[in-house]
Symmetry: C2
Subunit: 177 residues, 2 copies
DNA sequence: TCCAAGTGGCTAACGTTCTTAGCTTAAAGC
DNA sequence: GCTTTAAGCTAAGAACGTTAGCCACTTGGA
């Protein structure tokens, strides 16, 4: 049922994902949903956890066997592909914070964290720079993917080309720390 | 009245900005708002346009008289300061698209565009790279600011330090194209 | 085999929020 | 001085989230 919610969010946009719509999709009356989730906020959290797990799997898988620039490319491309294919799911992850450290959300976030950390291991980065580099990569890819997904790149230059340029830029920067 | 809405959004968060709350703040009954605004979506668009204009002014002003790395630093810091001081306003800008080219939203976006473009002129960037570099800066700063504003940077490393690191990273990259 | 508990559905109902319709009053313009 | 417009109001309705309370079906143990 969380999966159905996530799929629906991808189709209609997270903002248009309503309890009634999800119930209809499942062939059920709205109040029945409350037997499975605590409410809209809970549903959002579960979708976010699912999305983070899926993203971590996708990126972790894509990176397997690569290092350095190849790993960075694989991670970046699979991340962007995930966000563009699953804009609703991904939107659900923005702004949610795990409550407990046992929260599935925290675990999933940690997985994604590790996937990007693995990419950084392919570069020779001094210990104090690692955290900053991680935040840089996250900001860069998150920013690009969400801006594109929101239609934020207006003018004509090819967006795919910009993304490849971006990867090259990050790679060069990371190699010359 | 749009200003009041923007201020309220900054206080309570864009998601909690309700027509009733805004009316109360203005000492007026809810339906009266519809004499000034087309509805919630229209209000959101106007807040977004205001925010873009303000951000462009702030960044444009901060950059005045600087070039190269100094300009980049000034732009980056004032951009982030704006987002952190006005999280509600800024959130309103995400995902809105101008309808007409005459849309105030388009004009304001163009202003912000120009402010960042001015920063890039301080670097010697080959013509075909300029657009990509602009998108890179936008992704980087937008990503960082929104992630921080959403509480997305969990662990302990100092966020301000990361941001300065980020600026240095971008500067180095732009100087060695 | 029977029955007790749990699971998952339902209808009814309420509160909040956005929005529209239609009325009224006060200022501004001819 | 009359008329138009701007800006407020009440009343009302639709959509959505949510809770309460009821019922049927499965399932696991006595």
């Amino acid at each position: 049922m969380v999966a159905a919610g996530a799929a629906l969010a991808d189709e209609v946009g997270l903002g248009n994902l309503t309890m009634g719509l999800l119930a209809e999709r499942l062939g059920v009356r709205t109040p029945s949903l409350y037997k499975h989730v605590g409410g809209q906020e809970d549903l959002n959290r579960r979708i976010a956890a699912l999305a983070l797990r899926e993203a971590a799997d996708a990126i972790g898988g894509a990176v397997q066997g690569y290092a350095g620039r190849d790993a960075l490319e694989a991670a970046a491309r699979s991340f962007r592909a995930f966000v563009l294919e699953h804009p609703g799911r991904y939107a659900a992850t923005i702004g949610v914070e795990p409550s407990d450290p046992d929260d599935p959300l925290a675990t999933a976030g940690q997985q994604l964290f590790s996937a990007f950390m693995a990419v950084l291991r392919g570069y020779e980065i001094a210990e104090p720079d690692v955290d900053h580099a991680l935040r840089m990569l996250r900001s860069l890819f998150h920013g690009f993917a969400t801006l594109q997904s929101a239609g934020g790149f207006q003018w004509s230059v090819d967006v795919d080309e910009s993304f490849e340029w971006l990867i090259a830029f990050a790679d060069r920067g990371l190699r010359t720390l």
